[in-house]
Symmetry: C2
Subunit: 510 residues, 2 copies
């Protein structure tokens, strides 16, 4: 098909094309949805997805250096970072497999019958979570592995037992294709239906829109910009049968520093903050973007922070670089904003970090300053009194994280009030630390009020992410042999279940 | 304010006005939202809502016969039914209070720190569910108590710790006002902020739209028609900050009967089915509306069913009666549909039941026959073979329930396939029983795929309904004294928590 549209993978360090990829079409979406639906209705053994998750992890390791090489070429992320990200991706898959086997995510609840109850007999009722059906996942550009084709959204949707159709990020199509080959190899090895996973590639909005509107799709996972996430959310909500879009759209991640903390640790906080701002060339969803600095002795902090904010880097693609430059110049041009470090654009996608400072009053008066500038930039807001920081927080929209640095010398009543204010807008609250470095663990919440996400009752990182991609079902008076294994009397999967209000992993006597 | 709009409560049995009520205004919404927001940010003791739920239950009983009298006058539901519904409402409140105290709904998960972990120290992370904020609830007409002002949606939103603003159903404003007085008395008795509960009354669409779009509202519970539920869902999704609408919009509740079941129990099934269709004059969300009857010997079933479908009744309001009449006459006029029992309209809202029969081919060809006719009507679809029933199910939209009657003599392979087909469209699957009579219990799911509900990962009945009205939050390295009690080391609330993957109710050693 010689006249089919293609797009190029660009090396952001050189601006040169690496390779050309075919744009997926509506027909490709129909085909992927068709095989996904067929795979979903195939009778598979309980917990089939655990072997798949484990095997995919192994197959990704098997890809070896070529995976790291292409990811490096397509993302400009340094090799050690990508090696670490690969380890995070495979350990995430194995953690999810273990979590699925453990079975608590099924939320199995059984109320046994009471035929003698008056005025009416009580039926036998058994509830659990089951997969929703085919899920569409939109990979992120900033974690080509851990939030890409087999990243957190795909892993959690798959862990819940759903077929997944990934729309790979056009910044790294070669990385996506290699990872997809590992998934297909795992499906093949396990004799599982190939329709359980498909990769679509392309740059067109129509492709994404058609996928989200496809009748076979039952839920969407997305990581990316607020504009793109909201567009998909709106399309999904307007469907004849609406479906949820779990979109993680980044945030400003306010970080508050109280005067006692500056006095006690100003230098260390400045260095830690710089490290957090620079991580991945500032391209983390949890990068602290707004620093609310309380009190008047900010010097040690500013000195340490500006001194440490040195290294620039290459952004993931030219589009992000251009946005970063226009966002930072718009901040710099706001009256009342002082430029402490002027980031500048280097060759291609290269940039250096930016740091700005302003007063609480200026911040409150300029909504433009409340928005995220994705990349290595931060705005320090001078808050003479803790109440000024609380006022600033009330103007900041929903955020993935909120951080607070304080020392025992700080006003503990105000510490408490600041914590309450942070809680009200954030999905994760951090004390005397930095928001980057998101643990993949059972207690993690990588979520938060809109626009950090479209659903603050969910997380896109950690094992609690699985539950998003399930739905609830109850069985009433269904004979044991017709029940799914998770709800059968003998408890053949040995999972924890709440039986007549007691939780245990035992069986039910006949 | 003599020129303020009012509306009337109508006695459906007589068509006469009972009393006049003031229409709530946008200013009333603003006021209710303002006090709700203020109440939400008030520092209250842990589990304050349990005393409220218990006390409201007591205060509702204290209202005595006047509550039953006005509910009877406004709904035409018979006194024994309303007495039973009151008991269901108060026991639901007490069940939710006990469930909140037990604490598992908080889903507290703790991963303790590991400072020695390489390459990076592991932080202390603690996750739990917290209330979302003010919730708007739209009460249903068909359960003036159990799904009304202090019904399942209000009780679950309150159990999660949220302030609630109820828009009472205009069919029973007097009932709503009396129940609201009981809630306000409970708040007063417990010295809790009055803003934790408000009742709005009225008939205008603008009032409902303004409430759902109010910036202070964080979630919506709704029970009612598909048209109204979808309209609110669309408004909520289009907000600058979208919020979830948990809408339960009824369904056709397909019920399949296999030939062996007719042979063995045709008479009993017909009688049971008639009881289920007639319950509450057919005005149950779970009324079986489409009966897929497999095989050719249907006579015993039809005889028993038509003989038992005798008693008519008064519908909840004239609007529902008019819809019922137009829906049933549209079914009757569909070519290929036979009318076995012609329901007719009596005085005012009075009607008698309707029963129709058709062939699977006619059913498949007429989308109009796949829709719910709210009231005492059902359509029998003759399916020569089980596969015809599966085909019919594939044309039926998401449903609250799906039921299957079979006997040991029936083809067990087909039983299994029919069960799978029912599962794919229903929130609850029932074997050899009837869908009406929804248990309020931990294992209940009163939900299902769209359009039964807008969120198949939720239920509006049972203790699992509480989780809809929470959001997730994580605390990272937060000192014990600043943590909410549910996550403190000492576990002062004695709730089950998952600490480093082990679930127990103990404390964490220092």
């Amino acid at each position: 098909m010689p006249d089919q549209p293609t797009f190029s993978a660009i090396n952001p360090s050189t601006g040169q094309s690496i390779a050309s990829y075919r744009e997926s079409t509506r027909a490709d979406v129909d085909a992927a949805a068709g095989v996904a639906q067929a795979a979903f209705t195939t009778d598979l053994p309980p917990f089939w997805q655990t072997d798949l998750l484990d095997t995919v992890a192994d197959r990704i390791v098997d890809l070896g250096d070529p995976l790291l090489e292409i990811a490096e070429a397509e993302s400009a992320l340094p090799r050690p970072r990508l090696t670490g990200e690969r380890a995070r991706t495979t350990s995430q898959l194995k953690l999810f497999a273990a979590h699925v086997r453990q079975g608590a995510w099924l939320d199995a609840v059984i109320d046994t019958a009471d035929p003698s109850r008056k005025p009416a007999a009580k039926p036998d009722l058994r509830r659990m979570n089951i997969p929703r059906g085919p899920v569409a996942v939109f990979g992120a550009s900033n974690f080509p592995l851990a939030f890409g084709t087999i990243g957190g959204d795909t892993a959690s949707a798959m862990a819940a037992g759903n077929p997944v159709i990934v729309k790979g990020h056009p910044s790294h199509p070669g990385t996506s294709a290699l990872v997809a080959s590992a998934v297909m190899a795992a499906l093949d090895h396990l004799h599982l239906p190939k329709g359980l996973f498909s990769l679509l590639q392309g740059t067109s909005h129509d492709l994404s829109a058609y996928l989200v509107q496809h009748p076979a799709i039952t839920a969407v996972g997305f990581t990316g910009s607020q504009r793109a996430g909201r567009a998909l959310f709106d399309l999904a909500a307007a469907r004849p049968r609406p479906i949820p879009v779990f979109a993680e759209m980044g945030s400003v991640n306010p970080l508050i520093i109280m005067p006692g903390a500056i006095k006690a640790n100003g230098d260390a906080i400045g260095k830690g903050l710089a490290g957090s701002i620079l991580l991945g060339v500032g391209q983390f969803c949890t990068k602290p973007g707004i620093l609310l600095v309380i009190g008047d002795d900010r010097r040690p902090l500013i000195q340490s922070l500006t001194a440490a904010l040195t290294s620039g880097g290459t952004m993931l693609n030219e589009n992000l670089r251009n946005n970063f430059c226009s966002n930072t110049s718009s901040i710099a041009q706001t009256p009342g904003v002082q430029t402490l470090l002027a980031g500048f654009s280097q060759n291609h996608a290269g940039i250096t970090p930016s740091l700005f400072a302003t007063e609480a009053a200026t911040f409150l008066a300029n909504p433009r300053l409340h928005e995220e500038a994705f990349g290595p930039a931060a705005l320090m807001v001078h808050c003479p009194h803790p109440q000024d920081a609380i006022n600033c927080l009330s103007h900041i929209e929903g955020s993935l994280t909120g951080s607070l640095h304080f020392s025992p010398d700080d006003d503990q009543k105000m510490v408490r009030q600041l914590l309450v204010a942070l809680q009200s807008i954030a999905g994760r609250v951090i004390i005397n630390g930095f928001p980057t470095g998101v643990e993949v663990s059972p207690a993690m919440v990588h979520g938060g009020p809109y626009p950090a996400t479209t659903d603050p009752n969910s997380t896109s990182v950690g094992t609690a992410a699985i539950r998003r991609f399930t739905r609830m079902i109850a069985y009433q008076d269904v004979p044991d042999t017709l029940l799914p294994p998770a709800l059968q009397n003998a408890n053949p999967l040995h999972i924890p279940r709440t039986v007549n209000n007691q939780t245990n992993t035992g069986s039910i006597g006949q």
